[in-house]
Every structure is written in C-alpha cells, then in structure tokens.
C-alpha cells in the first residue's frame, strides 16, 4: 500500500543526530562518531537516529549584518549563535527587538528560498 502521508504539507524541520551506540549528540551530522568511532552511512543511517532540533535556547552572540549577499533584498538582517538545553549549538537568523547576549529564546524552523538553488530550512530565533 502507498504511504500517502508523504504528500502532506510538512512543517519544516532541522535534524540533529544521535549515535545510538554511545548517545553522543551532533549538529550537523558527522560521518563518524568521535566518541566510539561508529561510522554513519548517509543512505541507511544505520546506527544513528535523528531528532528535531528546535525549542528553548540561549543566545551566545549576535550581529546585525548590513552587507547582505546576493539574493537578499532586506536592508539588514540579524544573525545569532545559540546553545540548546542539550548542549548542541546552532547558527541562524535572529528576529528579536533588542538582542542581549545570554537572553532566552526559542528556535523555530522556516523554509527559505533566498539562497540560490533549492529552498532550504533555516533557524529563526525568537523570544
């Protein structure tokens, strides 16, 4: 029987990885676990599991970028690096009125077509 759920409009997600042998977490996905040397096959993902990276995080640093690359039409954009409760960190776009290092934010995922090529999923950090 065909799995018709594949046609559903899916919420964009960004995946983090866990090595099932030793439990070490990674973002982005590595090709080998640095703790137990377990290799990852990108086709089967055997020995690894993915989970959604999102939710509460802390802002480590941020910037407002005025010289945007080709494809962006805004005047400026804010970016930040955050740390999640599980210790993983990520870079992404920041949509906060008055950013302060150390503030508590929530990481959401949206689809973006501003970069050349196919649409990609990006982090947006909000309060």
């Amino acid at each position: 029987m065909i799995d018709f759920s594949m046609y559903e409009v899916k919420e964009p997600k960004i995946s983090a990885y866990r090595c099932t042998s030793c439990g070490t977490l990674y973002y982005p996905a590595p090709m080998v676990c640095k703790t137990c040397n377990c290799r990852r096959d990108p086709v089967t993902n055997k020995g690894w599991e993915t989970f959604d990276l999102q939710g509460p995080c802390t802002l480590l640093s941020w910037t407002r970028l005025w010289n945007l690359p080709e494809g962006y039409t805004k005047k400026n954009m804010m970016f930040g690096i955050v740390e999640f409760e599980n210790g993983l960190r990520a870079s992404g776009q920041l949509e906060v009125e008055d950013p302060q290092t150390g503030m508590k934010l929530v990481a959401e995922v949206v689809e973006s077509d501003e970069r050349p090529g196919k649409s990609v999923n990006v982090f947006v950090f909000r309060q």
Partner: protein, 398 residues
Amino acid sequence: MANVGIVGIGHTKFGNSSEYDLSDVLSYAAFDALEDANFLSRRREIDQVIVGNMASGLFCHQSAVASALVSRMDMEPVPAELVENGPASGASAIKIGYMAIASGMADIVLVVGGEIMRKVSGWVGTDYVATMLQTETEYNMGLTLPAFGGMFTRMYMERYGLTQRDLALLAVKNHENGSKNKYAHIQAPISIEAISDGPEAAVVNTYVAEPLRMYSTCPVSDGAAALLLVNMDSEKAKSFPKKPIRIAGIASATDTHCVHNRKDPLVLDAVRIAAEKAYAMAGLTPKDISFAELHDAFSILELAISEEVGFFEKGKSYLSVRKGETNIDGRLPINTSGGLKSKGHPVGATGVSQAVELVRQLRGEAEKGRQVSNPHYGMSVNFGGFGNNVVALICAKE
C-alpha cells in the same frame, strides 16, 4: 627538513584588475619574481609551479588555473598544480612548494598566489566568499564571513572590554603603513577623528556587521604575489644574485568547520597549533619574532591572532596597541605592509603577499617610513575560512 630559501619576490599593485585575465595578473607577479631573481630567461629550469587560488571558478568562470598559467608564461613542460585552501591558499601554496623541495623532488619552485574578485558585484562576491562556510548550518542560514567577524567581535568586546576606538586605532596604524607601500590597494592615511572620535564618525564609519564597522573590514581586491623558492643546499642555489631569505618554519592546522562547534568560539585552536609547530620547526619562541603580518580581514583578527601566537596574553593585546607597541616604531610592529585592511585582500594572493612583505622587511627593501629596524625573524599567519584552516610561516634573515 630541507633548507628552503626565497630568492625572488613579485607583487602586483592590489586594487581593481577586473578588466584583466587572471593568468595575466598571476604571470605579472611571477615574472617580477623571476626578474628579481635574475631567472626570467631560465624559467624552464624551474622544477615545479604551485599556484594558490580560492575561487577562480566562481569569480572568473575559469578552472585549472595552474595549467593556464604555465602556458601564459611560456613555461611548458614545467609541472604545475593548484592548491586551494580558502583565504589561506597563498600560504598553503608556499607550504606545498616547501614540501616539494624537502621531499627531494624539486630544487627550484615558483609559488604564485592570486585572485580576481571584482569581475562580479559586491553582493555576488559576498555570496561566493560565503561558500566556504558549512553549507547546511551556516551558508543556508544567510550567514557571511563578516557576520561571523561581527559575532566574534561582540563576544571579544563583552569578555575583554575592547572598545570601538581600539579597533579604529588598528585601522589608523594599518593605513599609515599602507600609505607608504607601493603595492597597497588603499594608499591613504585615515584619521582617528574621522572614524572614531569626531561627531560624524558613526556615519562615516558605518556598520557592516554590528559591532564591526566599515573601517574594521578589509576591502575587496584583485591582485597576485609570487615567490621563487630554492633548495639552499643545492648547486643551483648559487645562481641567484640576492641572498636567500630562509623559511625557518612553516606549518598548518585545522579546526571545526562550524564556528558554533568550537568549544570556546573565541579560542582559535588552529592558529595556536600552527604557530606552535612553526616555532618548533624553527627552534624559536614568540619572543624571537621581530615583526609579523597577521591576517586582519576583520581588524579583530589582528588582535585575536596576535594573542594565539603568543605575542600577548589573551584579551590584553588591545592594551598594547593603545600604547603603540605594534606601530612601525614600536617593540613589535604588526602589519607593516598595511595589513589586509589597507594593502587589500585578493583571497588567494594574501598568503604569498604576506611572505613577500616578510622578505622585503628582512632584506631591508621596504619603503622609507615603514622599514622595521634590523629585523631577524618575521612571522605571518594566513587565516582560512573563519579560522578552520590556518597556516603559519616564519622567515629568517641569515
């Protein structure tokens, strides 16, 4: 290890060479180096050509640059290969040239580093440079190299108390040096009043990636630089008119691709490790270094790198800058060429350009007003990506 020396140097004036073919610009610097070494008519005796270039495929729509260059220089059948290491392509090309001589497979090596970036618009160029970031977690988010420069600067300011004025002092120092360097892209001094202290400074020195300002980021430049390396222990070394400047130490190291995956994002492990290996190879310590060329694509990096290589305690380098210790007449001149800020930053050329400056200073050939007095050892650090692949070079006057 072998005794590798630099016997010829060449350098174009960095700036806008976008109307020229990349091979023309590379060969111009290369021929200057060959003339400096009195070797132009004997160019086919060169054993190996190594070219450093990052993104000619993107900026110039050209690939296989080393092969193109050999023909342009009428040097067939000399072997030629391209080395790519992002903005550290130049110093990596020197390292591979060194390795060719140390391996015994070559006695004379021509190293050429170059880039033409201005054939495309600034926005497209920013996008091309951003391709060195990790695709999924950094590039796709819209991040650029200046964005990381901005975040690094913010963390540094919050942790160590660095001010905007301290960054502006670096621009003033580097422009002062660059204004006397015939090869510099921008040869014009700038005033601290205009970019920091005066009432219009906030607009004149506009933000690029807060808190990083325009006069803390390097320009986009075209240009090339070249070196002729020789095995100093070989008979052939005797053919050159100028005393070789010896490569005392050269080493590189890597760090995580994703900036967010560094244990402490303010610690540049690749810089420290590359420098430690270069010191060990040369049998030197940071105290022995007379002057240095440190990769200031963003002015904050001049400070951070100077600390990682051991010139200053972590977080304290800006205090020494305030006292003028890194000025041309200070105890440890840094970026005597004007640095990337004033000299310019054609990405593939920079590592070789830094080495050319080391040689000019050690030979005593720098322009009046920016010659370091009696230098013995010069060091350069060429920073690839956002610090994930770094090459350190130490040259010695024999």
